[in-house]
């Protein structure tokens, strides 16, 4: 069953358009017939049981998986320009013994100058500027392995926001983050979304915060089961079936 709540064509405010997307790995069909529109400045949450194909979907959008169908991006005024995608990967566990500071991590990602020679003044200033966006300036000299789940997500978010992307994709940003950290993180995403008119696509297993923060919720299980307003989806029969009968956690 597919519901495309935005109709076939969409105006210039549509940032990401996915049509008839299917992904096969080996002979196995992981996703089929996915249709999804993400508008500019909108937060879309992908939910679904484990193994439903959420991460696969994100990888297809990122261009890390082969797929059939259409994935098109557009910006106001510039159609189908190659977009800049900011990506925060799943389970970002660092070895606590790795002597890598947050500043080093940024330098490794953004500069060609070997990070082991130390950061130049301008690089350090840039890192601070990035961390400021996630209110994390004080984290700059901490070792990445010693950050809490919420701190780490903020650092990775800051990393994904430089250079400022057109679309931000987060894979399970709330896993491993405590309840307080979740709200902080979601507030931050909300702030960034509004300030930069950024489209955000994220997967999550935490449904309690969705009505407050998500514009659209998409329930996936090898294809889209239902999509729409958070309340509609969370109270649908499809949702109950996907999670209760499979013994998933709500």
């Amino acid at each position: 069953m597919n519901l495309d709540i935005h109709g076939g064509s969409c105006g210039h405010s549509c940032c990401l358009r996915v049509e008839n997307l299917s992904v096969r790995i080996g002979g196995d069909c992981i996703l089929s017939n996915v249709n999804l529109h993400v508008h500019c400045g909108e937060l879309v949450a992908l939910i679904g049981p484990n193994g439903a194909g959420k991460s696969t979907f994100l990888k297809a959008v990122l261009g890390q998986r082969d797929y059939e169908g259409v994935i098109a991006f557009s910006e106001p005024g510039q159609r189908s320009k190659k977009p800049r995608i900011g990506y925060v990967p799943q389970s970002p566990a660092f070895d606590p013994s790795d002597p890598v500071s947050v500043a080093d991590l940024f330098a490794c990602c953004m500069s060609r100058r070997p990070a082991f020679l130390g950061l130049g003044k301008s690089m350090r200033a840039l890192v601070l500027e990035c961390l400021e966006r996630v209110h994390g300036e004080e984290l700059i000299d901490k070792r990445v392995g010693t950050l809490s789940g919420g701190e780490l997500q903020r650092v990775l978010l800051a990393l994904a926001l430089e250079p400022m992307p057109n679309i931000l994709i987060l894979d399970e940003p709330l896993s491993g983050v405590d309840v307080e950290g979740m709200e902080t993180l979601m507030d931050m995403l909300d702030e960034i979304r509004k300030n930069f008119d950024l489209s955000i696509l994220m997967t999550t297993h935490d449904f309690s915060l969705l009505p407050r923060y998500a514009n659209q919720v998409v329930l996936i299980d090898r294809g889209i089961l239902i999509q729409g307003e958070p309340e509609t989806v969370l109270h649908s029969a499809e949702f109950a079936q996907a999670f209760h009968m499979k013994g998933g956690s709500v």
């Binding site: 990122l62 890390q64 990506y87 990967p89 799943q90 389970s91 970002p92 660092f94 070895d95 013994s97 790795d98 002597p99 890598v100 500071s101 500043a103 080093d104 991590l105 330098a107 490794c108 990602c109 500069s111 060609r112 100058r113 070997p114 990070a115 082991f116 020679l117 130390g118 000299d141 070792r143 990445v144 990775l156």
Partner: protein, 279 residues
């Protein structure tokens, strides 16, 4: 070389009067910083055991080279090590088994193959001992020149790719999401270790090689908070142990390789004890 000899004569140390000591010292001064640098990446990338396995695969390469009648089987060993490293990288990327398990598989296969070839038709492998054990004191100026060239090449590769390699080692998924070809980086890194290990092995020996490739990085991790300290300490420890070990071996008349390794072990113990304040 003569410039180096002339330089050594400036020092009033008795041990630096001998040419073989001058050679050994120069080889160590070249090797130690580079191995210190590489060891950080080897330890971060969890490849410590791999460099050991490569040492063994080099032996097989030497045996194959000797069978084929090559006068300098070192090159056959380099080739074999590179092939070994490539096959290992391929299998690692396709298998869901832990890297140390796979290294065990490859290491024992390589050793068995080497001994099988060397002893085929009743041969003895004592003549290969030189390659396996090696001795820093017997290093020749020609070997030092070759070592310097290879080390220079690796250093350039290192400086160009350091950030990508670090990111790949600490978080492969993040690296790939930043557009870094993770598989290619890992393979290049593996091949670089293979070449360095194999070329150094016959001139300096397996013992020094493995301790210099793992211990400086492991010790530096104990006391470092960022990459700069990590690399700085690692290079410093490698140099200290290299020079210190050679000196100790001269005055006590023991194996230089063993002395260097033991000093590194002491450094590790000391940094381990100091680690609390930094955690």
């Amino acid at each position: 070389m003569s410039l180096w000899y002339w330089f050594c004569d400036f020092f009033p140390f008795e041990m630096l009067r001998w040419d073989f000591m001058k050679n050994a010292m120069l080889a160590l001064l070249l090797m130690a910083p580079l191995f210190g640098l590489m060891s950080t990446m080897i330890v971060t990338g969890r490849m410590s055991f791999f460099s050991d396995a490569l040492g063994h695969s080099a032996f097989t390469g030497i045996a194959i080279g000797a069978i084929c009648g090559m006068s300098a089987p070192t090159w056959a060993a380099v080739l074999f090590s590179v092939v070994f490293a490539l096959i290992f990288s391929y299998v690692r990327s396709r298998s869901n088994q832990a890297a140390d398990t796979l290294i065990g598989v490859f290491s024992s296969t390589a050793v068995a193959l080497g001994i099988f070839i060397a002893t085929l038709g009743g041969g003895s492998f004592t003549k290969y001992n030189k390659y396996l054990i090696g001795d820093i004191l017997s290093v020749t100026p020609g070997e030092i020149g070759l070592l310097a060239l290879v080390l220079m090449a690796v250093l350039i590769f290192w400086v160009l790719c350091a950030n990508r390699l670090t990111l790949t080692a600490i978080h492969p998924q993040l690296a790939s999401s930043r557009g870094i070809p993770v598989g290619l980086s890992q393979t290049l890194f593996t091949v670089a270790i293979a070449v360095v290990v194999t070329l150094s092995i016959s001139s300096v020996g397996l013992l020094i090689l493995n301790s210099l490739m793992v211990l400086p990085g492991a010790s530096a991790r104990n006391v470092s908070k960022n990459l700069r300290q990590y690399h700085g300490f690692s290079v410093l420890f490698a140099l200290l142990a290299g020079i210190g070990g050679l000196t100790v071996s001269y005055y006590l008349g023991c194996s230089a390789g063993a002395a260097i390794s033991l000093i590194l072990a002491v450094i590790f113990a000391v940094t381990f004890a100091l680690r609390k304040g930094n955690a």
